[in-house]
């Protein structure tokens, strides 16, 4: 079914600026307080740990080798860079297709992909389908959660909290038309991102100078943190 959509929001990410500081990751988690735990008494009990719920993840990707010379010294061509990824609110959202209940849906008005929590049965089909690991299970409530594009902040004329929190100004968010006008098509997607042909993600990437092609020779260096 082809949706008649007025607007499509998306992200811009500049991997040449990102230092992997994870302020976006933490700011996003901070916003969840009162959102995914609406009845929490934060003043008296502190904020919930929300284990494993990471709507914005910072991937550390690197590679290269060390070799030893006859005099014992080393040569190396090691590289590393970071990719901050939330949800790309894809134009062909495989999570929506995979959802058996219709909980995962793409909003007509702005193209944001969100979860209708009351319909979600926590089967994790969306998480298995998404090549970006955007759907994040709330193990305590047994429902799926994900980057909602900060639609409450958008309504107030603000950008998502990850964008506004970034000390390096490496992130941006807007309608795809506006982002393209500002940044063009970018450098194309780089590893560790999957091929954009799978889901038509709304994400423009400026590549790090060490950026490797999708499926490149490097590896994810921080699997425990994402």
């Amino acid at each position: 079914m082809k949706m008649t959509q007025q607007t499509q929001y998306g992200f811009y990410f500049d991997s040449s600026k990102c230092t992997g500081c994870k302020t976006c990751h933490i700011a996003c988690k901070d916003r969840m307080t009162g959102l995914v735990r609406a009845k929490d008494d934060v003043m008296n009990n502190g904020v919930a740990n929300l284990p494993g719920i990471i709507w914005r993840r910072v991937y550390e990707y690197g590679g290269g080798n060390w070799s030893q010379n006859v005099d014992g010294s080393f040569e190396q061509n090691v590289f590393a860079y970071y990719m901050s990824i939330g949800c790309n609110h894809c134009s062909e959202p495989v999570c929506v297709k995979a959802c058996p209940t219709g909980a995962m849906h793409k909003r007509r008005e702005d193209g944001l992909v969100q979860v209708a929590t009351e319909l979600c049965i926590g089967c994790e089909s969306c998480a298995r389908a998404c090549p970006y690991d955007a759907p994040q299970l709330d193990i305590e409530r047994k429902v799926m959660t994900k980057c909602d594009g900060c639609s409450d902040r958008l309504a107030e004329g603000k950008k998502p909290i990850c964008v506004d929190s970034c000390p390096l100004r490496a992130l941006d968010f807007d309608t795809m038309d506006n982002l393209r006008a500002k940044y063009g098509e970018g450098d194309g997607h780089i590893a560790p991102l999957p091929s954009p042909s799978i889901t038509s993600p709304n994400l423009i990437i400026k590549a790090n100078r060490n950026g490797q092609p999708v499926g490149g020779s490097g590896q994810l260096l921080n699997p425990a943190e994402v």
Binding site: G20, K29, L221
Partner: protein, 231 residues
């Protein structure tokens, strides 16, 4: 109030009058109109710098004096101060013959982005965002049969820690690196190879010698030789 404090009179951008005003302004941005030149008063203004000679010293008179007057321990390798910058071989250093067989890896501490020193180690979100693992080069991991995420024990004669290992080319062969500031958490039921309770908190001080550095008298957290095996 910050805006009425005389020390802030010439602050650029000017300080807000209230917290509410600061919140309204949001992020403060200031751009220098002219490049800032270090030691400008010395280079262009002809004023003396705060050294005994008033000049930039390569041979430091004050360091020479400290090296002569201060008391050092001749039994501690590298415990001396020189007047000119030089490489000082030290205990638990790369060339230290006394420790290189038992403890073949050099352990350096670094500032992890998950804490400010030891502050905020107790915040679960930060522990989730920044893994406290010891970094090891693939070459060293291969010989030990280690894979990323494996729990390892790392020890020297001063203590034993137990924590995950991260295999990464971002650290040199023969060197391992651990973010400093994790909180000491001894498991008193288990004694490590060093003869101490195993620190499952992964605190680098568990492995660090109580030996102040020659000049700064700092904690020598980057001067540790260790051995690592799979836990």
């Amino acid at each position: 109030m910050t805006s009425t404090n005389s020390a802030n009179t010439n602050a650029q951008p000017t300080f807000p009058n209230s917290y509410a005003e600061a919140q309204k302004i949001g992020v403060f941005r200031a751009f220098s109109k002219t490049p800032v030149l270090a030691l400008d008063s010395y280079i262009n203004g002809g004023k003396a710098v705060s050294t005994p000679s008033g000049k930039i010293e390569i041979y430091s008179l004050s360091m020479a004096q400290k090296g002569k007057d201060w008391i050092f321990n001749p039994n501690v390798k590298g415990d001396y101060i020189t007047a000119i910058p030089m490489y000082q071989p030290t205990w638990d250093g790369y060339e230290d013959e006394d420790t290189k067989d038992d403890y073949p890896l050099q352990l350096a501490g670094y500032h992890t982005k998950g804490r400010t020193h030891s502050s905020y180690h107790n915040v679960p979100w930060l522990r989730e965002a920044a893994e406290d693992a010891v970094w090891m080069n693939p070459t060293d991991a291969l010989g030990r049969g280690l894979r990323s995420g494996d729990k390892v024990q790392m020890w020297n004669e001063r203590g034993t820690v137990e924590l995950p290992v991260r295999i990464t080319p971002r650290v040199a062969p023969g060197v391992v690196a651990l973010g400093q500031g994790a909180w000491y958490q001894p498991d008193i039921a288990r004694i490590g190879r060093s003869g101490h309770p195993i620190d499952v908190g992964g605190c680098i001080n568990t492995l660090t010698r109580y030996q102040p550095s020659p000049l700064a008298k700092g904690n020598p957290q980057h001067t540790n030789r260790v051995q690592i095996v799979k836990a």
